[in-house]
Amino acid sequence: MNLTNDRKYAIAMLIFSMVYCFSAFSLDADFNPTQEKYYPFVLSIAMIILSLALLVWPSPHTTTWPKRKNLQKIGLTFCAILVYSLVLHRVGFLISASILMGICMWVFEANRKWIVPVSIIVAISFYLIFDRLLGLTLPAGILNFF
Protein backbone atom coordinates (compact mmCIF):
# COMPACT_ATOMS: atom_id res chain seq x y z
CA MET A 1 0.00 0.00 0.00
CA ASN A 2 1.35 3.35 -1.06
CA LEU A 3 1.75 5.75 1.88
CA THR A 4 0.26 8.92 0.35
CA ASN A 5 -0.20 12.15 2.28
CA ASP A 6 -3.79 11.33 3.12
CA ARG A 7 -2.87 7.89 4.47
CA LYS A 8 -0.39 9.48 6.89
CA TYR A 9 -3.12 11.83 8.09
CA ALA A 10 -5.49 8.88 8.40
CA ILE A 11 -3.08 7.21 10.81
CA ALA A 12 -2.88 10.39 12.90
CA MET A 13 -6.69 10.62 12.87
CA LEU A 14 -6.95 6.99 13.93
CA ILE A 15 -4.61 7.49 16.89
CA PHE A 16 -6.53 10.58 18.00
CA SER A 17 -9.88 8.82 17.63
CA MET A 18 -8.70 5.81 19.58
CA VAL A 19 -7.45 7.96 22.45
CA TYR A 20 -10.80 9.76 22.46
CA CYS A 21 -12.64 6.43 22.30
CA PHE A 22 -10.61 5.05 25.20
CA SER A 23 -11.22 8.12 27.38
CA ALA A 24 -14.93 8.01 26.55
CA PHE A 25 -15.09 4.34 27.43
CA SER A 26 -13.35 4.86 30.74
CA LEU A 27 -15.88 7.49 31.87
CA ASP A 28 -17.54 6.40 35.07
CA ALA A 29 -21.19 6.20 33.92
CA ASP A 30 -23.81 3.74 32.70
CA PHE A 31 -23.70 2.80 29.05
CA ASN A 32 -27.18 4.19 28.47
CA PRO A 33 -28.09 6.49 25.53
CA THR A 34 -29.33 9.18 27.91
CA GLN A 35 -26.19 9.15 30.07
CA GLU A 36 -22.96 11.09 29.64
CA LYS A 37 -20.91 8.19 28.26
CA TYR A 38 -22.91 6.93 25.27
CA TYR A 39 -22.81 10.01 23.01
CA PRO A 40 -19.03 10.63 23.02
CA PHE A 41 -18.51 6.90 22.57
CA VAL A 42 -20.69 6.93 19.44
CA LEU A 43 -18.76 9.95 18.16
CA SER A 44 -15.45 8.18 18.66
CA ILE A 45 -16.63 5.06 16.81
CA ALA A 46 -17.73 7.22 13.87
CA MET A 47 -14.32 8.92 13.91
CA ILE A 48 -12.51 5.58 13.89
CA ILE A 49 -14.62 4.44 10.92
CA LEU A 50 -13.85 7.71 9.08
CA SER A 51 -10.10 7.31 9.77
CA LEU A 52 -10.16 3.77 8.37
CA ALA A 53 -12.18 4.97 5.38
CA LEU A 54 -9.54 7.59 4.57
CA LEU A 55 -6.87 4.92 4.89
CA VAL A 56 -8.65 2.83 2.26
CA TRP A 57 -9.78 5.66 -0.02
CA PRO A 58 -7.27 8.51 0.22
CA SER A 59 -7.98 11.63 -1.85
CA PRO A 60 -5.37 12.80 -4.36
CA HIS A 61 -4.55 15.75 -2.10
CA THR A 62 -0.88 16.76 -1.97
CA THR A 63 0.42 18.96 0.80
CA THR A 64 3.06 21.56 0.06
CA TRP A 65 4.88 22.32 3.28
CA PRO A 66 6.43 25.76 3.76
CA LYS A 67 10.12 26.30 3.07
CA ARG A 68 12.63 26.19 5.88
CA LYS A 69 12.88 29.97 6.17
CA ASN A 70 9.11 30.35 6.43
CA LEU A 71 8.91 27.53 8.95
CA GLN A 72 11.42 29.41 11.10
CA LYS A 73 9.22 32.50 10.90
CA ILE A 74 6.15 30.51 11.94
CA GLY A 75 8.11 28.94 14.79
CA LEU A 76 9.32 32.33 15.98
CA THR A 77 5.78 33.77 15.93
CA PHE A 78 4.51 30.71 17.79
CA CYS A 79 7.17 31.12 20.48
CA ALA A 80 6.49 34.86 20.74
CA ILE A 81 2.78 34.30 21.36
CA LEU A 82 3.56 31.48 23.81
CA VAL A 83 5.97 33.63 25.81
CA TYR A 84 3.46 36.49 25.72
CA SER A 85 0.77 34.20 27.15
CA LEU A 86 3.04 33.00 29.94
CA VAL A 87 4.43 36.33 31.10
CA LEU A 88 1.43 38.60 30.49
CA HIS A 89 0.26 38.69 34.10
CA ARG A 90 3.71 39.18 35.59
CA VAL A 91 5.24 41.65 33.14
CA GLY A 92 2.05 43.44 32.12
CA PHE A 93 0.38 44.25 28.84
CA LEU A 94 2.43 47.24 27.73
CA ILE A 95 5.80 45.54 27.71
CA SER A 96 4.71 42.11 26.50
CA ALA A 97 2.49 43.52 23.75
CA SER A 98 5.23 45.87 22.48
CA ILE A 99 7.65 42.97 22.27
CA LEU A 100 5.09 40.73 20.53
CA MET A 101 4.19 43.49 18.09
CA GLY A 102 7.87 44.11 17.40
CA ILE A 103 8.57 40.45 16.69
CA CYS A 104 5.51 40.16 14.44
CA MET A 105 6.57 43.26 12.51
CA TRP A 106 10.08 41.88 12.13
CA VAL A 107 8.72 38.56 10.89
CA PHE A 108 6.61 40.43 8.32
CA GLU A 109 9.77 42.20 7.12
CA ALA A 110 8.99 45.70 8.31
CA ASN A 111 11.55 48.42 7.85
CA ARG A 112 13.96 48.14 10.85
CA LYS A 113 13.74 51.79 11.87
CA TRP A 114 9.97 51.59 12.23
CA ILE A 115 9.80 48.51 14.46
CA VAL A 116 10.58 50.05 17.87
CA PRO A 117 8.50 53.25 17.67
CA VAL A 118 5.50 51.61 15.99
CA SER A 119 5.30 48.68 18.42
CA ILE A 120 5.47 50.97 21.46
CA ILE A 121 2.83 53.30 20.01
CA VAL A 122 0.56 50.36 19.15
CA ALA A 123 0.87 48.83 22.63
CA ILE A 124 0.13 52.16 24.33
CA SER A 125 -2.85 52.91 22.09
CA PHE A 126 -4.31 49.43 22.66
CA TYR A 127 -3.87 49.89 26.41
CA LEU A 128 -5.54 53.29 26.34
CA ILE A 129 -8.42 52.14 24.13
CA PHE A 130 -9.17 48.88 25.92
CA ASP A 131 -8.22 49.55 29.52
CA ARG A 132 -9.02 53.24 29.89
CA LEU A 133 -11.72 53.89 27.27
CA LEU A 134 -13.63 50.60 27.13
CA GLY A 135 -12.93 49.54 30.72
CA LEU A 136 -11.66 46.05 29.82
CA THR A 137 -8.93 45.41 32.34
CA LEU A 138 -5.55 44.53 30.88
CA PRO A 139 -2.82 43.53 33.33
CA ALA A 140 -0.55 46.44 34.25
CA GLY A 141 2.22 44.18 35.58
CA ILE A 142 5.45 45.83 36.65
CA LEU A 143 4.33 49.15 35.17
CA ASN A 144 1.35 49.47 37.50
CA PHE A 145 2.04 53.11 38.24
CA PHE A 146 1.05 53.97 34.64
Binding site: L43, L50, H61, S85, H89, A97, L136, T137
Partner: protein, 499 residues
Amino acid sequence: MFDLLFHGFSVALSGINPLLVVIGCFLGTIIGMLPGIGPINAIAILFPIVLQFDLPPSSALIFFAGIFYGSQYGNSISSILLNVPGTSSAAVTCIDGHPLAKQGRAGPALAMSAMASFIGGTISIFLLIFFAPYLSKLAIDFGPAEYFVLMVCAFTALTSFSEGSFIKAMFSAFLGLAIATVGIDELSFGGMRRFTFGIRELGDGIDFIVVVIGVFAVGELFLFLSDTAKDASQRVIPLKKVLLTFKEIKESIGGILRSCVTGFLVGVLPGAGATIASFLAYNTEKKLAGTKGNFGKGDLRGVAAPESANNSSAVGSFIPLLVLGVPGSETTAVMLAVLITLGVTPGPTMLVDRPDMFWGVAASMFIGNLVLIVLNLPMVRLLAKILLVPRWILMPLIAILSIVGVYVINGSEFDLILMLVFGVVGFLMRKTGFPLAPLVLGLVLGGLIEVNFRRALTYSYGDFSTFYESPIAIALWLITLASLVAPVLFRFVKKRLRQ
Protein backbone atom coordinates in the same frame (compact mmCIF):
# COMPACT_ATOMS: atom_id res chain seq x y z
CA MET B 1 -46.44 40.99 7.33
CA PHE B 2 -46.11 44.75 6.94
CA ASP B 3 -46.91 45.43 10.57
CA LEU B 4 -44.11 43.00 11.48
CA LEU B 5 -41.72 44.77 9.12
CA PHE B 6 -42.82 48.05 10.63
CA HIS B 7 -42.02 46.63 14.05
CA GLY B 8 -38.65 45.58 12.65
CA PHE B 9 -37.90 49.14 11.58
CA SER B 10 -38.80 50.39 15.02
CA VAL B 11 -36.24 47.92 16.45
CA ALA B 12 -33.60 48.81 13.85
CA LEU B 13 -34.03 52.54 14.44
CA SER B 14 -34.21 52.51 18.23
CA GLY B 15 -31.41 53.36 20.63
CA ILE B 16 -27.90 52.54 19.55
CA ASN B 17 -28.96 50.27 16.66
CA PRO B 18 -28.71 52.77 13.75
CA LEU B 19 -25.17 53.55 14.87
CA LEU B 20 -24.37 49.84 15.01
CA VAL B 21 -25.61 49.42 11.43
CA VAL B 22 -23.37 52.22 10.21
CA ILE B 23 -20.28 51.02 12.11
CA GLY B 24 -20.93 47.39 11.11
CA CYS B 25 -21.27 48.26 7.43
CA PHE B 26 -18.19 50.48 7.52
CA LEU B 27 -16.08 47.82 9.24
CA GLY B 28 -17.52 45.18 6.94
CA THR B 29 -16.49 47.11 3.83
CA ILE B 30 -12.93 47.52 5.13
CA ILE B 31 -12.64 43.92 6.30
CA GLY B 32 -14.03 42.64 3.02
CA MET B 33 -11.55 44.78 1.17
CA LEU B 34 -8.44 43.64 3.03
CA PRO B 35 -7.09 40.29 1.85
CA GLY B 36 -6.31 37.97 4.76
CA ILE B 37 -9.14 39.04 7.01
CA GLY B 38 -12.72 38.11 6.24
CA PRO B 39 -16.04 38.51 8.02
CA ILE B 40 -15.55 35.37 10.12
CA ASN B 41 -12.22 36.52 11.60
CA ALA B 42 -13.67 39.96 12.20
CA ILE B 43 -16.78 38.68 13.96
CA ALA B 44 -14.73 36.29 16.11
CA ILE B 45 -12.15 38.94 17.04
CA LEU B 46 -14.75 41.62 17.81
CA PHE B 47 -17.14 39.34 19.65
CA PRO B 48 -15.39 39.31 23.07
CA ILE B 49 -15.16 43.11 22.91
CA VAL B 50 -18.83 43.55 21.92
CA LEU B 51 -19.80 41.17 24.72
CA GLN B 52 -18.53 43.68 27.27
CA PHE B 53 -21.17 46.22 26.26
CA ASP B 54 -24.17 44.11 27.37
CA LEU B 55 -25.99 44.58 24.08
CA PRO B 56 -29.32 42.80 23.56
CA PRO B 57 -29.06 39.86 21.10
CA SER B 58 -30.92 41.74 18.36
CA SER B 59 -28.44 44.65 18.49
CA ALA B 60 -25.43 42.33 18.45
CA LEU B 61 -26.88 40.48 15.48
CA ILE B 62 -27.63 43.73 13.63
CA PHE B 63 -23.99 44.73 14.11
CA PHE B 64 -22.47 41.40 13.03
CA ALA B 65 -24.89 41.03 10.13
CA GLY B 66 -23.71 44.48 8.96
CA ILE B 67 -20.13 43.26 9.00
CA PHE B 68 -21.11 40.15 7.05
CA TYR B 69 -23.07 41.71 4.19
CA GLY B 70 -20.85 44.81 4.25
CA SER B 71 -17.86 42.59 3.54
CA GLN B 72 -19.59 41.36 0.38
CA TYR B 73 -19.55 44.96 -0.88
CA GLY B 74 -15.96 45.70 0.00
CA ASN B 75 -14.43 42.46 -1.24
CA SER B 76 -14.65 43.52 -4.89
CA ILE B 77 -12.55 46.66 -4.34
CA SER B 78 -9.33 44.68 -3.92
CA SER B 79 -10.38 42.20 -6.62
CA ILE B 80 -10.62 45.05 -9.10
CA LEU B 81 -7.72 47.26 -8.03
CA LEU B 82 -5.25 44.59 -6.90
CA ASN B 83 -6.32 41.33 -8.58
CA VAL B 84 -6.38 39.82 -5.06
CA PRO B 85 -9.86 38.97 -3.78
CA GLY B 86 -10.72 40.49 -0.40
CA THR B 87 -12.65 37.33 0.50
CA SER B 88 -13.02 34.12 -1.50
CA SER B 89 -16.49 35.10 -2.68
CA ALA B 90 -14.97 37.90 -4.76
CA ALA B 91 -12.39 35.65 -6.44
CA VAL B 92 -14.51 35.48 -9.56
CA THR B 93 -14.80 39.28 -9.68
CA CYS B 94 -11.06 39.42 -10.42
CA ILE B 95 -11.55 37.70 -13.79
CA ASP B 96 -13.18 40.71 -15.40
CA GLY B 97 -12.71 43.37 -12.76
CA HIS B 98 -8.93 43.52 -12.87
CA PRO B 99 -8.61 43.62 -16.69
CA LEU B 100 -11.08 46.51 -16.63
CA ALA B 101 -8.89 48.34 -14.11
CA LYS B 102 -5.83 47.74 -16.29
CA GLN B 103 -7.67 49.34 -19.21
CA GLY B 104 -8.17 52.42 -17.04
CA ARG B 105 -11.79 51.59 -16.33
CA ALA B 106 -11.47 50.83 -12.61
CA GLY B 107 -14.04 53.55 -11.88
CA PRO B 108 -16.89 52.04 -13.92
CA ALA B 109 -15.99 48.56 -12.60
CA LEU B 110 -16.26 49.72 -8.98
CA ALA B 111 -19.46 51.63 -9.69
CA MET B 112 -20.95 48.54 -11.34
CA SER B 113 -19.88 46.38 -8.42
CA ALA B 114 -21.47 48.75 -5.91
CA MET B 115 -24.67 49.00 -7.92
CA ALA B 116 -24.95 45.23 -8.44
CA SER B 117 -24.27 44.66 -4.74
CA PHE B 118 -26.98 47.16 -3.84
CA ILE B 119 -29.62 45.69 -6.15
CA GLY B 120 -28.73 42.09 -5.24
CA GLY B 121 -28.65 42.91 -1.54
CA THR B 122 -31.93 44.83 -1.50
CA ILE B 123 -34.01 42.41 -3.60
CA SER B 124 -32.78 39.49 -1.53
CA ILE B 125 -34.07 41.17 1.65
CA PHE B 126 -37.53 41.18 0.05
CA LEU B 127 -37.09 37.47 -0.71
CA LEU B 128 -35.99 36.92 2.89
CA ILE B 129 -39.02 38.57 4.48
CA PHE B 130 -41.32 36.88 1.98
CA PHE B 131 -40.07 33.29 2.41
CA ALA B 132 -39.05 33.16 6.06
CA PRO B 133 -42.56 33.24 7.60
CA TYR B 134 -43.65 30.31 5.37
CA LEU B 135 -40.75 28.18 6.51
CA SER B 136 -41.33 29.06 10.12
CA LYS B 137 -44.87 27.61 9.91
CA LEU B 138 -43.32 24.22 9.14
CA ALA B 139 -41.04 24.51 12.10
CA ILE B 140 -43.71 24.73 14.79
CA ASP B 141 -44.00 20.96 15.25
CA PHE B 142 -40.33 20.42 16.00
CA GLY B 143 -39.46 18.44 19.13
CA PRO B 144 -35.96 17.49 20.31
CA ALA B 145 -35.94 14.47 17.96
CA GLU B 146 -36.78 16.58 14.90
CA TYR B 147 -34.29 19.26 15.85
CA PHE B 148 -31.62 16.59 16.20
CA VAL B 149 -32.40 15.21 12.74
CA LEU B 150 -32.43 18.75 11.32
CA MET B 151 -28.90 19.30 12.64
CA VAL B 152 -27.74 15.96 11.22
CA CYS B 153 -29.23 17.10 7.91
CA ALA B 154 -27.38 20.44 8.04
CA PHE B 155 -24.11 18.65 8.77
CA THR B 156 -24.45 16.20 5.94
CA ALA B 157 -25.31 18.94 3.47
CA LEU B 158 -22.40 21.10 4.63
CA THR B 159 -19.85 18.31 4.38
CA SER B 160 -21.06 16.75 1.15
CA PHE B 161 -21.09 20.08 -0.70
CA SER B 162 -17.72 21.21 0.60
CA GLU B 163 -14.73 20.95 -1.71
CA GLY B 164 -12.18 18.15 -1.49
CA SER B 165 -12.52 14.84 0.29
CA PHE B 166 -15.90 14.09 1.86
CA ILE B 167 -14.27 11.82 4.47
CA LYS B 168 -11.96 14.59 5.62
CA ALA B 169 -14.81 17.11 5.80
CA MET B 170 -16.85 14.64 7.84
CA PHE B 171 -13.94 13.98 10.18
CA SER B 172 -13.53 17.71 10.63
CA ALA B 173 -17.20 17.94 11.68
CA PHE B 174 -16.81 15.09 14.17
CA LEU B 175 -13.68 16.70 15.56
CA GLY B 176 -15.76 19.81 16.26
CA LEU B 177 -18.43 17.70 17.96
CA ALA B 178 -15.76 15.94 20.03
CA ILE B 179 -14.21 19.23 21.17
CA ALA B 180 -17.68 20.35 22.25
CA THR B 181 -17.93 17.40 24.66
CA VAL B 182 -15.00 18.63 26.76
CA GLY B 183 -15.99 20.02 30.14
CA ILE B 184 -18.69 19.57 32.74
CA ASP B 185 -21.76 17.74 31.42
CA GLU B 186 -24.78 20.01 31.92
CA LEU B 187 -27.42 17.30 31.62
CA SER B 188 -26.27 14.99 34.40
CA PHE B 189 -27.10 15.71 38.04
CA GLY B 190 -23.60 15.44 39.39
CA GLY B 191 -22.12 17.49 36.56
CA MET B 192 -19.59 14.94 35.37
CA ARG B 193 -16.28 16.28 34.07
CA ARG B 194 -15.46 14.78 30.71
CA PHE B 195 -12.13 14.79 28.85
CA THR B 196 -10.58 17.46 31.08
CA PHE B 197 -7.48 15.31 31.78
CA GLY B 198 -7.20 16.86 35.22
CA ILE B 199 -6.83 20.39 33.87
CA ARG B 200 -9.01 22.61 36.03
CA GLU B 201 -9.53 25.29 33.35
CA LEU B 202 -11.06 22.75 30.97
CA GLY B 203 -13.95 22.19 33.40
CA ASP B 204 -15.99 25.02 31.86
CA GLY B 205 -15.43 23.53 28.44
CA ILE B 206 -13.50 24.97 25.53
CA ASP B 207 -14.92 28.36 24.64
CA PHE B 208 -15.84 28.26 20.96
CA ILE B 209 -14.65 31.82 20.45
CA VAL B 210 -11.15 30.86 21.61
CA VAL B 211 -11.16 28.05 19.04
CA VAL B 212 -12.53 30.26 16.27
CA ILE B 213 -9.99 33.04 16.88
CA GLY B 214 -7.25 30.41 17.13
CA VAL B 215 -8.21 28.53 14.01
CA PHE B 216 -9.00 31.56 11.86
CA ALA B 217 -6.98 34.54 13.12
CA VAL B 218 -3.83 32.80 14.40
CA GLY B 219 -4.05 30.03 11.80
CA GLU B 220 -4.33 32.67 9.09
CA LEU B 221 -1.28 34.46 10.48
CA PHE B 222 0.76 31.25 10.20
CA LEU B 223 -0.65 30.60 6.73
CA PHE B 224 0.39 34.09 5.62
CA LEU B 225 3.90 33.42 6.88
CA SER B 226 4.11 30.05 5.15
CA ASP B 227 4.29 31.43 1.63
CA THR B 228 6.62 34.10 0.41
CA ALA B 229 4.12 36.10 -1.63
CA LYS B 230 5.19 39.70 -2.10
CA ASP B 231 3.33 42.49 -0.38
CA ALA B 232 0.73 43.61 -2.91
CA SER B 233 -0.04 46.99 -1.41
CA GLN B 234 2.34 48.73 -3.80
CA ARG B 235 0.51 47.61 -6.92
CA VAL B 236 -2.83 49.32 -6.33
CA ILE B 237 -4.18 50.77 -9.56
CA PRO B 238 -5.08 54.48 -9.23
CA LEU B 239 -8.70 55.43 -9.54
CA LYS B 240 -10.42 58.03 -11.72
CA LYS B 241 -14.13 58.79 -12.05
CA VAL B 242 -16.49 56.28 -10.43
CA LEU B 243 -19.43 56.55 -12.83
CA LEU B 244 -21.57 54.39 -15.10
CA THR B 245 -23.36 55.26 -18.32
CA PHE B 246 -27.03 54.49 -18.84
CA LYS B 247 -26.14 52.00 -21.59
CA GLU B 248 -23.85 50.05 -19.27
CA ILE B 249 -26.57 49.82 -16.64
CA LYS B 250 -29.11 48.66 -19.22
CA GLU B 251 -26.79 45.91 -20.44
CA SER B 252 -26.13 44.50 -17.00
CA ILE B 253 -29.46 44.79 -15.25
CA GLY B 254 -30.81 41.44 -16.51
CA GLY B 255 -27.75 39.61 -15.27
CA ILE B 256 -27.93 41.35 -11.91
CA LEU B 257 -31.52 40.26 -11.38
CA ARG B 258 -30.89 36.65 -12.48
CA SER B 259 -27.78 36.41 -10.29
CA CYS B 260 -29.68 37.80 -7.34
CA VAL B 261 -32.15 34.93 -7.43
CA THR B 262 -29.40 32.33 -7.97
CA GLY B 263 -27.36 33.79 -5.13
CA PHE B 264 -30.28 33.82 -2.75
CA LEU B 265 -31.19 30.18 -3.39
CA VAL B 266 -27.57 29.05 -3.06
CA GLY B 267 -27.26 31.06 0.14
CA VAL B 268 -30.23 29.30 1.71
CA LEU B 269 -28.70 25.85 1.11
CA PRO B 270 -26.40 24.73 3.89
CA GLY B 271 -22.83 24.22 2.76
CA ALA B 272 -23.04 26.22 -0.43
CA GLY B 273 -22.25 29.86 0.20
CA ALA B 274 -21.32 33.15 -1.40
CA THR B 275 -18.29 31.70 -3.20
CA ILE B 276 -20.27 29.03 -5.02
CA ALA B 277 -23.06 31.54 -5.69
CA SER B 278 -20.71 33.99 -7.38
CA PHE B 279 -19.09 31.30 -9.55
CA LEU B 280 -22.49 29.95 -10.60
CA ALA B 281 -23.80 33.42 -11.48
CA TYR B 282 -20.66 34.33 -13.43
CA ASN B 283 -20.72 31.12 -15.49
CA THR B 284 -24.43 31.51 -16.25
CA GLU B 285 -23.96 35.04 -17.55
CA LYS B 286 -20.89 34.06 -19.53
CA LYS B 287 -22.82 31.27 -21.26
CA LEU B 288 -25.83 33.52 -21.91
CA ALA B 289 -23.63 36.21 -23.47
CA GLY B 290 -21.96 33.64 -25.74
CA THR B 291 -19.75 35.17 -28.43
CA LYS B 292 -21.26 38.61 -27.93
CA GLY B 293 -19.58 38.98 -24.56
CA ASN B 294 -16.10 40.11 -23.74
CA PHE B 295 -15.97 37.91 -20.63
CA GLY B 296 -12.53 37.25 -19.19
CA LYS B 297 -11.01 40.29 -20.87
CA GLY B 298 -12.91 43.01 -19.03
CA ASP B 299 -16.69 42.87 -19.31
CA LEU B 300 -18.75 44.91 -16.85
CA ARG B 301 -21.37 42.16 -16.80
CA GLY B 302 -18.71 39.83 -15.42
CA VAL B 303 -18.38 42.16 -12.43
CA ALA B 304 -22.11 42.71 -12.01
CA ALA B 305 -23.19 39.05 -11.87
CA PRO B 306 -20.92 37.71 -9.10
CA GLU B 307 -21.31 40.85 -6.98
CA SER B 308 -25.10 40.66 -7.10
CA ALA B 309 -24.93 36.92 -6.32
CA ASN B 310 -22.56 37.08 -3.36
CA ASN B 311 -24.56 39.82 -1.69
CA SER B 312 -27.88 38.10 -2.06
CA SER B 313 -26.39 34.80 -0.92
CA ALA B 314 -25.16 36.48 2.27
CA VAL B 315 -28.74 37.60 2.94
CA GLY B 316 -30.12 34.17 2.01
CA SER B 317 -27.85 32.43 4.49
CA PHE B 318 -29.77 34.15 7.29
CA ILE B 319 -32.82 32.01 6.53
CA PRO B 320 -31.53 28.72 7.98
CA LEU B 321 -29.95 30.64 10.87
CA LEU B 322 -32.91 32.76 11.93
CA VAL B 323 -35.80 30.55 10.87
CA LEU B 324 -34.56 27.06 11.75
CA GLY B 325 -31.79 27.85 14.22
CA VAL B 326 -29.30 25.88 12.15
CA PRO B 327 -26.47 27.76 10.47
CA GLY B 328 -25.46 26.70 6.97
CA SER B 329 -22.03 28.32 6.82
CA GLU B 330 -19.08 29.05 9.07
CA THR B 331 -19.89 32.76 9.38
CA THR B 332 -23.51 32.14 10.36
CA ALA B 333 -22.29 29.38 12.71
CA VAL B 334 -20.23 31.96 14.57
CA MET B 335 -23.27 34.25 14.65
CA LEU B 336 -25.33 31.45 16.17
CA ALA B 337 -22.64 31.01 18.79
CA VAL B 338 -22.88 34.74 19.52
CA LEU B 339 -26.64 34.39 20.04
CA ILE B 340 -26.21 31.36 22.32
CA THR B 341 -23.69 33.25 24.43
CA LEU B 342 -26.15 36.14 24.72
CA GLY B 343 -28.81 33.80 26.08
CA VAL B 344 -30.93 33.03 23.00
CA THR B 345 -32.14 29.43 22.80
CA PRO B 346 -31.65 28.57 19.15
CA GLY B 347 -34.20 26.39 17.44
CA PRO B 348 -36.98 26.28 14.90
CA THR B 349 -39.24 28.47 17.02
CA MET B 350 -36.83 31.38 17.08
CA LEU B 351 -38.82 33.46 14.59
CA VAL B 352 -42.02 33.01 16.60
CA ASP B 353 -40.39 33.46 20.01
CA ARG B 354 -38.16 36.38 19.12
CA PRO B 355 -39.79 38.31 16.28
CA ASP B 356 -37.78 41.41 17.21
CA MET B 357 -34.59 39.63 16.24
CA PHE B 358 -35.62 38.46 12.78
CA TRP B 359 -37.57 41.54 11.76
CA GLY B 360 -35.08 43.90 13.38
CA VAL B 361 -32.21 42.36 11.43
CA ALA B 362 -34.22 42.29 8.18
CA ALA B 363 -35.16 45.97 8.56
CA SER B 364 -31.60 46.90 9.51
CA MET B 365 -30.43 45.32 6.25
CA PHE B 366 -32.46 47.86 4.24
CA ILE B 367 -30.78 50.67 6.16
CA GLY B 368 -27.40 48.94 5.85
CA ASN B 369 -27.64 48.66 2.09
CA LEU B 370 -28.31 52.40 1.82
CA VAL B 371 -25.29 53.09 4.04
CA LEU B 372 -23.18 50.74 1.94
CA ILE B 373 -24.08 52.28 -1.41
CA VAL B 374 -23.02 55.68 -0.02
CA LEU B 375 -19.76 54.18 1.32
CA ASN B 376 -19.03 52.33 -1.90
CA LEU B 377 -19.94 54.93 -4.52
CA PRO B 378 -19.09 58.51 -3.51
CA MET B 379 -16.54 57.48 -0.89
CA VAL B 380 -14.84 54.57 -2.63
CA ARG B 381 -11.80 56.63 -3.67
CA LEU B 382 -11.14 57.45 -0.04
CA LEU B 383 -11.69 53.85 1.09
CA ALA B 384 -9.39 52.43 -1.58
CA LYS B 385 -6.52 54.25 0.13
CA ILE B 386 -6.73 51.66 2.92
CA LEU B 387 -5.33 49.11 0.47
CA LEU B 388 -2.08 51.11 0.57
CA VAL B 389 -1.50 50.13 4.21
CA PRO B 390 1.44 47.72 4.07
CA ARG B 391 1.13 44.15 5.30
CA TRP B 392 3.90 44.47 7.88
CA ILE B 393 1.72 46.77 9.94
CA LEU B 394 -1.66 45.22 9.16
CA MET B 395 -0.97 41.58 10.06
CA PRO B 396 0.75 42.29 13.41
CA LEU B 397 -2.13 44.64 14.31
CA ILE B 398 -4.69 41.93 13.61
CA ALA B 399 -2.61 39.51 15.68
CA ILE B 400 -2.51 41.84 18.69
CA LEU B 401 -6.22 42.62 18.38
CA SER B 402 -7.18 38.94 18.39
CA ILE B 403 -4.90 38.19 21.32
CA VAL B 404 -6.41 41.05 23.33
CA GLY B 405 -9.88 39.80 22.37
CA VAL B 406 -9.22 36.29 23.64
CA TYR B 407 -7.77 37.62 26.86
CA VAL B 408 -10.71 39.86 27.76
CA ILE B 409 -13.26 36.98 27.65
CA ASN B 410 -12.13 35.47 30.95
CA GLY B 411 -8.91 37.33 31.72
CA SER B 412 -7.14 34.00 31.57
CA GLU B 413 -3.69 33.08 30.30
CA PHE B 414 -4.87 29.53 29.73
CA ASP B 415 -7.26 30.75 27.00
CA LEU B 416 -4.31 32.36 25.22
CA ILE B 417 -2.40 29.08 25.18
CA LEU B 418 -5.50 27.23 24.01
CA MET B 419 -5.88 29.80 21.22
CA LEU B 420 -2.30 29.19 20.17
CA VAL B 421 -2.80 25.42 20.13
CA PHE B 422 -5.87 25.82 17.94
CA GLY B 423 -3.94 28.24 15.75
CA VAL B 424 -1.53 25.40 14.99
CA VAL B 425 -4.45 22.98 14.50
CA GLY B 426 -6.11 25.41 12.08
CA PHE B 427 -2.90 25.93 10.16
CA LEU B 428 -2.23 22.19 9.88
CA MET B 429 -5.83 21.47 8.88
CA ARG B 430 -5.72 24.00 6.09
CA LYS B 431 -2.36 22.75 4.86
CA THR B 432 -3.50 19.13 4.89
CA GLY B 433 -6.84 19.79 3.18
CA PHE B 434 -9.32 19.45 6.04
CA PRO B 435 -12.06 22.10 5.65
CA LEU B 436 -12.63 24.34 8.66
CA ALA B 437 -16.33 25.12 8.19
CA PRO B 438 -17.52 21.68 9.45
CA LEU B 439 -15.24 22.00 12.48
CA VAL B 440 -16.78 25.33 13.45
CA LEU B 441 -20.29 24.07 12.84
CA GLY B 442 -19.60 20.94 14.91
CA LEU B 443 -18.16 22.98 17.73
CA VAL B 444 -21.07 25.43 17.84
CA LEU B 445 -23.83 22.87 17.40
CA GLY B 446 -22.12 20.13 19.43
CA GLY B 447 -23.75 21.03 22.73
CA LEU B 448 -27.21 21.35 21.15
CA ILE B 449 -26.88 18.07 19.26
CA GLU B 450 -26.00 16.15 22.40
CA VAL B 451 -28.71 17.83 24.48
CA ASN B 452 -31.41 17.16 21.90
CA PHE B 453 -30.21 13.61 21.26
CA ARG B 454 -30.30 12.70 24.94
CA ARG B 455 -33.48 14.62 25.65
CA ALA B 456 -35.32 12.94 22.76
CA LEU B 457 -34.24 9.54 24.06
CA THR B 458 -35.27 10.44 27.60
CA TYR B 459 -38.77 11.36 26.37
CA SER B 460 -39.03 8.10 24.42
CA TYR B 461 -37.57 5.97 27.26
CA GLY B 462 -34.54 5.07 25.18
CA ASP B 463 -36.51 4.07 22.10
CA PHE B 464 -34.55 5.09 18.99
CA SER B 465 -37.62 5.01 16.75
CA THR B 466 -38.41 8.52 18.02
CA PHE B 467 -35.91 9.79 15.46
CA TYR B 468 -37.93 8.52 12.48
CA GLU B 469 -41.52 8.55 13.67
CA SER B 470 -42.86 11.94 12.64
CA PRO B 471 -43.37 12.91 8.97
CA ILE B 472 -41.05 15.90 9.46
CA ALA B 473 -38.25 13.65 10.68
CA ILE B 474 -38.75 11.26 7.75
CA ALA B 475 -38.69 14.16 5.29
CA LEU B 476 -35.48 15.45 6.88
CA TRP B 477 -33.84 12.01 6.64
CA LEU B 478 -34.78 11.90 2.95
CA ILE B 479 -33.19 15.33 2.40
CA THR B 480 -30.10 14.10 4.24
CA LEU B 481 -29.92 11.06 2.00
CA ALA B 482 -30.43 13.19 -1.11
CA SER B 483 -27.63 15.56 -0.12
CA LEU B 484 -25.35 12.55 0.35
CA VAL B 485 -26.22 11.02 -3.01
CA ALA B 486 -26.42 14.23 -5.08
CA PRO B 487 -22.69 15.06 -5.24
CA VAL B 488 -21.79 11.43 -6.05
CA LEU B 489 -24.41 11.31 -8.78
CA PHE B 490 -23.29 14.68 -10.08
CA ARG B 491 -19.68 13.50 -10.36
CA PHE B 492 -20.77 10.29 -12.06
CA VAL B 493 -22.83 12.15 -14.68
CA LYS B 494 -19.98 14.59 -15.29
CA LYS B 495 -17.56 11.70 -15.87
CA ARG B 496 -19.96 10.03 -18.29
CA LEU B 497 -20.47 13.25 -20.22
CA ARG B 498 -16.74 13.70 -20.57
CA GLN B 499 -16.34 10.23 -22.00
